[in-house]
């Protein structure tokens, strides 16, 4: 999101933030917070972590706005920061026991596709299969379909080569196709 006609662009807002303009940062927050929050929520599965990380991302923008070089879109930059912070937080908490909520989520996700599909139609089955992808695969699917990012931008956010992005997308889509077929739904490929 870089701002439409007559609207201040994201890059201009970042430049204002670099000069200490808090109002510009609030505007940037309003534009991008939901997407950053959802991105982290999908990565971590924790509302608390998504909330903390999303806030931290924008505070980081406040501290580091002068370092934004404008090579990438602001939204790509934000998602890159969010991913790094989410991974750091996940690593830090990896030794902590799963709380009750997380344990329930894991148990829920552990349903076999067949069991789940009995009560779902194709669209809701597909939503569940997208949710059930591995982190690596779900990330590229989310970044392409929901965040509208290009192969190169996803490579920047995940810090991987573009060939890796394509490979992950290939396997992600293949797994979705296989899961749908196994659940008895039509699917042309693979």
């Amino acid at each position: 999101m870089s701002g439409g006609s007559g609207e201040t662009s994201d890059a201009d807002l970042v430049a204002r933030v670099a000069r200490g303009d808090r109002a510009a940062l609030r505007l940037l927050f309003m534009r991008h917070h939901a997407r950053v929050y959802r991105f982290v929520m999908r990565q971590t599965g924790s509302e608390t972590m998504a909330d903390d990380v999303a806030n931290e991302v924008f505070l980081e923008v406040w501290r580091q706005a002068a370092r934004f070089e404008g090579r990438a879109q602001v939204s790509t930059w934000l998602l890159g920061i969010a991913r790094f912070k989410a991974l750091s937080m996940l690593r830090k908490r990896s030794e902590e026991a799963l709380d009750e909520g997380q344990a329930e989520a894991v148990a829920d996700g552990a349903d076999t596709p067949e069991v789940v599909t009995m009560k779902d139609d194709k669209a809701s089955a597909l939503r569940r299969f997208v949710d059930g992808l591995s982190d690596e695969h779900r990330e590229v699917v989310d970044l392409a379909y929901y965040h509208g990012k290009s192969v190169t931008e996803i490579g920047d956010i995940l810090a991987v080569p573009v060939a890796t992005v394509k490979t992950r997308m290939f396997y992600a889509r293949k797994k979705l196709g296989e899961a749908l077929k196994a659940a008895g739904y039509d699917r042309g490929w693979p």
Partner: protein, 217 residues
Amino acid sequence: MNDKALSNRRDRLEALLPFFLNGTLSGAELHEVEEWLASDPDAMASLADAEAEYSATMETNEAIRPPADALARFSEALESEAGPQRQPALSLRERLARFLPSMPVQAAWVAAGLAIAILVGQTVWLNLSERTDFSVAGTETADAPFAFVTFKEDAAIADVSAALGALKLKIDAGPLPGGLYRVVVPAENGAQYDDIVARLQETGVVATVVAGRRPAE
């Protein structure tokens, strides 16, 4: 093209379909996908599958609701932040310290001597002068209504100046302890004073306004 080559091509194009759908594909890859969609009946079925994935991913993301009070809490956290690292303003002494070492020693002595001479000259001139057509800040506003004001730390001087100018306000003392400035309020009665103070509070450059001398009704 043999079966294996066709299969490899299909796999590669399937991986590009999401980027075709989100409009970020370009150049040779875009051309290749378009050509495939136009020539292969299976390609349209694949595109429909990708569209279903697209919808499912959008829905599953949008089902996540960020907290409603996120902005309010972020604003609080932001207020406690010091601010981006910027070049700190240099004091006169620091500026001189940076300036003088770069000069040859003799030139530095000459510069320092000239500065002292100018200072002495100004002092003598002022002491000998009998002119009295200047005023000391505060004397002409000794009985005027005033308010105490603190400005937001990120307020630019130009914005402060514009805001005060628009309300015909003048700073006549400060900064006092606590970062307070005394601002002369050109009000003839209490209602006028209250109105000006309220408008001052709404300018966006002011952090707090404390009533000082308020005229009677």
